[in-house]
């Protein structure tokens, strides 16, 4: 270890002002902070002391680390919850007021002729029901019976049921009676505002039709996955059957 000649080098030595400040603080702490009791700051022999600078914010203790974007995170969470709640309430309000179709601006009543499956654009993802029994014809949508059947049976003709509003749109059924029995039950209106509705109804409506023809009444099962359409179909079908009975003078 080389010895240094301190006598000549220390005379030009300058103490770092920050170091000097810290030494001064240490000295005052050791003395207990009493007035006039502080020890003089230790200095190196021959060193020139430079007046310590005033304390600056940079010499103070570093602030606690704050998580970045905390306020923004809270704001994002709050707005997301508020948006979800608001949208939920808005959907409920629109549904309750019965303005769903108007708000969506898309549901339309499709005049599907009797005997045909519900409209052409429907994808054939499910086995489609072909009309059974007598050959179906595109009958006009009127409720006037054409032939006079026996008083105990329903007169031949087409009868239109009431349009039943469902969550997804109106469902309206039209029935065809021939020789006193239900020959066909087509739909005049069904939910078709989006692909989901079209996909569901493409398999649900033919099945409902088949069940109605088999049961010869509106007592038919709900098609799985198409509860609302099934309910609407059932009610409209019953309405059409009631209209047929009323026209034929049959009570009940």
């Amino acid at each position: 270890m080389s010895t240094k000649d301190h006598s000549s080098s220390n005379s030009n030595r300058v103490i770092d002002p920050l170091l000097q400040q810290r030494l001064a603080n240490l000295g005052s702490q050791r003395a207990g902070g009493g007035v006039g009791a502080s020890l003089p700051p230790p200095t190196l022999p021959g060193a020139r002391s430079v007046p310590a600078p005033a304390p600056t914010p940079s010499t103070r203790r570093a602030p606690r680390r704050v998580k970045p974007a905390r306020a923004s995170k809270v704001a994002a969470l709050t707005m997301s919850i508020a948006a979800t709640a608001g949208l939920t309430g808005w959907f409920a309000k629109v549904d309750a007021s019965g303005a769903t179709a108007a708000a969506l601006g898309s549901t339309s009543a499709d005049n599907t002729p009797l005997g045909a499956s519900p409209a052409g654009p429907l994808p054939t993802t499910a086995p489609t029901a072909t009309p059974s029994g007598p050959a179906p014809t595109a009958a006009p949508t009127t409720a006037a019976p054409t032939t006079a059947a026996a008083p105990a049976t329903i007169a031949d003709g087409t009868y239109v049921g009431a349009a039943i509003n469902t969550r997804y749109g109106p469902v309206q059924v039209e029935v065809l009676y021939q020789n006193g029995s239900l020959a066909d039950a087509g739909v005049l209106a069904y939910p078709d505002s989006n692909r989901r509705d079209l996909a569901i109804n493409s398999y649900a409506l033919p099945r409902l039709r088949d069940e109605a023809l088999a049961a010869q009444s509106a007592t038919i099962d709900t098609v799985s996955g198409a509860t609302y359409t099934s309910n609407g179909y059932r009610k409209s079908l019953q309405s059409a059957i009631d209209a047929a009975k009323q026209s034929s003078g049959i009570a009940g």
């Binding site: 998580k67 970045p68 974007a69 923004s72 995170k73 994002a76 969470l77 997301s80 948006a83 979800t84 709640a85 608001g86 949208l87 939920t88 309430g89 959907f91 409920a92 549904d95 708000a103 969506l104 601006g105 898309s106 549901t107 993802t125 969550r167 997804y168 505002s193 989006n194 692909r195 989901r196 509705d197 996909a199 569901i200 398999y203 649900a204 799985s224 996955g225 198409a226 509860t227 609302y228």
Partner: protein, 185 residues
């Protein structure tokens, strides 16, 4: 009560889609260093992570609400296994696949997991979120019961634009940087 689950399912789905788009936007801005000088980069990164996690939480709400909506025909099988939904298979399947991808992306970005993954692997997993956004868009358009509504269609178009535009810019930047790098060598 059933109807309320349906409303909640729709609302949470829309909010989740918006959060996903915002998270992707924040990530793209951060990765392309287009964050400006006003806010520090760690603010952008922190918010990107937070929005991603929040989006996943709202996807969970969306799934739970669809499960409890008895008229939706969505059971546990339909939620977990893509292609098992009745009536419209692919619209629901897109959503299920996108959910799985986002779950992997979010959890792979948690610090504890990210530290154990090689950088390249983590980055490759993260990039899979881009096709997952496409699946989300397909699900929202095909399975959304409001898909016929003009307001909903407009929202989807806006979200698509907000996603595609910065993504294209980012890709263009990457291609340009690589070209410059090769030219300099």
């Amino acid at each position: 009560m059933t109807s309320w689950w349906w409303y909640l399912s729709k609302a949470s789905g829309i909010v989740a889609a918006v959060l996903l788009v915002l998270s992707m936007l924040w990530g793209l801005l951060f990765s392309s260093r287009a964050t400006g000088k006003r806010l520090r980069p760690n603010w952008w990164l922190a918010l990107h992570n937070w929005l991603g996690g929040l989006a996943l939480a709202f996807i969970g709400v969306h799934l739970v609400a669809a499960f409890f909506d008895s008229n939706a025909g969505i059971g546990l099988t339909q939620i977990l296994v893509p292609g098992t939904a009745t009536g419209f298979v692919w619209p629901i399947a897109w959503g299920v696949i996108a959910t799985y991808i986002f779950t992997v992306v979010v959890f792979s970005s948690v610090n504890r997991v990210k530290r154990r993954l090689p950088r390249r692997v983590w980055h490759a997993v993260h990039l899979v979120s881009i096709p997952a956004m496409l699946f989300t868009g397909l699900h929202a358009y095909q399975a959304g019961s409001d898909a016929g509504a003009p307001a909903y269609t407009t929202l989807l178009a806006v979200l698509a634009g907000v996603t595609i535009y910065p993504l294209v810019l980012r890709l263009a930047g990457v291609v340009s940087a690589r070209r410059d790098f090769r030219a300099s060598q």
